[in-house]
Each structure stands twice: as structure tokens, then as C-alpha cells.
């Protein structure tokens, strides 16, 4: 099951699809399941854990994007303000949590954008606006992908959970039957 090629049409980050175990008897007769119920359950559990891990990775990605998008839109809003600015601007900016400090900003042609890797680059207002607009579109697209994948992921691990329950019950029934026939 794990070897299955990811169905790229369904997910953006290549999450393998979990196969629903329709017929437990057939499933348990597959050669890779000859190790017994315990091994099968453990493998399913490992798969489940893998999905959970992917979920946490994707969820943190989503958190980042959800933070990034309003931040970008605020940056764009500020650029509009700076473009329109003709005289000194009196501001109070958030210096640290709960503390605002008064600062003056002269009319300016440029802003500085934090690029990452400890680097900040000066941009003209137009260039900054273009870059931020592109980034915004990318972030929105990525968010949609991540959300779709999270949905998909949830379906996959529900399938695994159901599979585990089915195998587990199949085993109990088998044991009960064995017990009954031996009595």
C-alpha cells in the first residue's frame, strides 16, 4: 500500500492515498499481510502516524500562510499610504507587545523588505508593491493547496482508522469462532 504511486491529481504535495479495506478476508490473505494481525495493525498504525506527521507539517504551513496573508495585505495598504503621503507623517508604531512609540516619517520613495536569511533590501514603492502583490497571490494559492491537502489527509487517516478497526474486529471474530468451535 505504501508503495502506491501518489495520485497527483488529488493532492498537491504527493500524499499517498490510503486504500479502504473492503474485504478483510481478502486483505489478510495478501502476501504482504502474512505476518499476522499484530504486524498488519502495526503497519497500519505506522501509516497512521505518518499521516499525522504530515498533518502537523501542513498545519504549521497553514498557520504561517494564514499569518502571512493579512500581513501582506497590511503591507500593501501601508504602501498605498506612503504613495499618497505628501508631508511628514506622525505615527505611533508598535514597538513591542503593548507599547507604542511616536515616530515621524518623511515622505519617502522607498521601503525596506525583510527577505530572510538575515537580509533586508531597499525597494522603490512600486517595486515593493509588485513584489508583495505577487507574494500575496502565491500565498493565497499555497493556502488553498495546503487546505485541500489537509482535507485529503484527514480522509486518508480516517480510512486507516476504519481499516484498523475492521482488522481488529475481524481478528476478534475469528478468535471467538475458534473458541466456539473448540468448545
Amino acid at each position: 500500500m505504501e508503495g502506491d504511486a501518489p495520485t497527483s491529481s488529488k493532492t498537491f504535495s504527493g500524499i499517498p492515498e490510503a486504500v479502504f479495506v473492503d474485504n478483510v478476508d481478502e486483505f489478510m490473505n495478501l502476501p504482504e499481510n502474512s505476518g499476522g494481525v499484530d504486524k498488519v495493525l502495526r503497519r497500519l498504525d505506522e501509516q497512521h502516524a505518518k499521516y499525522k506527521f504530515m498533518e502537523s507539517t501542513l498545519a504549521s504551513k497553514r498557520r504561517r500562510l494564514r499569518q502571512q496573508i493579512p500581513d501582506l495585505s497590511r503591507s500593501l495598504e501601508m504602501i498605498e499610504k506612503l504613495k499618497a503621503q505628501k508631508e511628514d507623517m506622525e505615527t505611533q508604531f508598535l514597538l513591542s507587545d503593548q507599547v507604542f512609540l511616536k515616530a515621524n516619517v518623511k515622505p519617502t520613495e522607498t521601503v525596506f523588505l525583510w527577505l530572510g536569511a538575515n537580509v533586508m533590501l531597499e525597494y522603490s514603492l512600486e517595486d515593493a508593491e509588485n513584489l508583495l502583490t505577487t507574494n500575496m497571490a502565491t500565498a493565497k494559492k499555497n493556502l488553498a493547496c495546503v487546505e485541500h491537502d489537509l482535507d485529503f489527509l484527514r480522509d486518508q487517516w480516517t480510512t486507516i482508522e476504519v481499516n484498523m478497526a475492521r482488522v481488529y474486529n475481524w481478528d476478534i471474530k475469528k478468535r471467538q469462532a475458534a473458541k466456539a468451535s473448540s468448545q
Binding site: 500581513d71 516619517v105 518623511k106 523588505l113
Partner: protein
């Protein structure tokens, strides 16, 4: 055999296993809530400490200095500090108050103290709860033992 919390022990011994299990679940949940509030308070404490330290760095010498003003988390613009004597503090529920540097320092000192006290209170509660939990676990173990013994005999 079981240690300390005498009162609880008397109560506990009257409960049956499912009741004990339920109680344990409740206590576990409470402990988790404590842990979460402690975490939240710790974060708040860190913010207050950070704000206090930040305010201390605003000296008269910094007046008129060039700064890079954070407009958002990733965008800065060049500017100058207009006032190093006063800051405006978000005191909560939509209210903001202007304070001088000394007043601001004092504010954050008080806040840190308040949060620290809250944390201590929760820690005490947590220790108590953990004791209760231990007593419950012990009682459960005893009951399980008692349940399995006669079966072995028969």
C-alpha cells in the same frame, strides 16, 4: 499504605473502579488545563518582561535618532523617534494610556509580578492535583489487584 492526602483517601476507597477511572480522567483533564494556562501565562510573562526591557532602552539620548520603523512584520521605513519621554500602552479591552518611561517601567513590573503570582498559584494547585491523581492511581491499582487475586485462587 497510600501516603498523605488522608481525606481524599477515605473518599476514594469508597469508589468503584469505573468511578475511579472517571475521576482520574477528570483530574488528568484539570492538570492539562493547568498546564495550558501555565504555558499561556509564561508567554504573557515573557512579553511583559520584553516590553519592560524595551522601554528601558528608550533614553533621552535616543530622541530624534533615525530608526527603521516596523510597518508590518516584514516591511520597514526610515523614520525618527518623535518622543522618548512618553509611550502609549495598550492596557486592554481597547483602552490605551500614555505613560512616561518611569510609569511604563512600573506598569510592566507590576504586570510581571501579577502574572508570576498567578503562575505560582496554579503551580500550587497543580501539585495538589497531582497528589490526588497519585492517590487515585494507587487506589485503582489496589482495586485491580484485589479483583485479580480471587480469580487466581479459584
Amino acid at each position: 499504605m497510600a501516603p498523605a492526602p488522608g481525606m481524599q483517601q477515605i473518599d476514594l476507597s469508597k469508589l468503584n473502579l469505573p468511578q475511579l477511572a472517571q475521576l482520574k480522567q477528570q483530574v488528568d483533564h484539570d492538570l492539562q488545563v493547568f498546564q495550558e494556562s501555565l504555558q499561556a501565562l509564561k508567554i504573557a510573562q515573557g512579553k511583559f518582561v520584553d516590553s519592560g526591557e524595551t522601554v528601558e532602552k528608550l533614553t533621552p539620548a535616543t530622541k530624534g535618532k533615525t530608526i527603521l520603523v516596523p510597518l508590518t512584520s516584514s516591511m520597514y521605513v526610515s523614520g525618527t523617534i518623535a518622543d522618548t519621554d512618553n509611550v502609549i500602552i495598550d492596557i486592554g479591552t481597547g483602552y490605551y494610556a500614555q505613560k512616561d518611561i518611569e510609569g511604563a517601567k512600573d506598569y510592566f513590573k507590576r504586570k510581571v509580578q501579577f502574572v508570576t503570582e498567578q503562575m505560582e498559584k496554579i503551580q500550587v494547585l497543580g501539585i495538589e492535583k497531582t497528589k490526588v491523581k497519585d492517590a487515585i492511581c494507587m487506589m485503582m491499582e489496589m482495586k485491580i489487584q484485589a479483583q485479580s487475586e480471587p480469580q487466581k485462587v479459584s
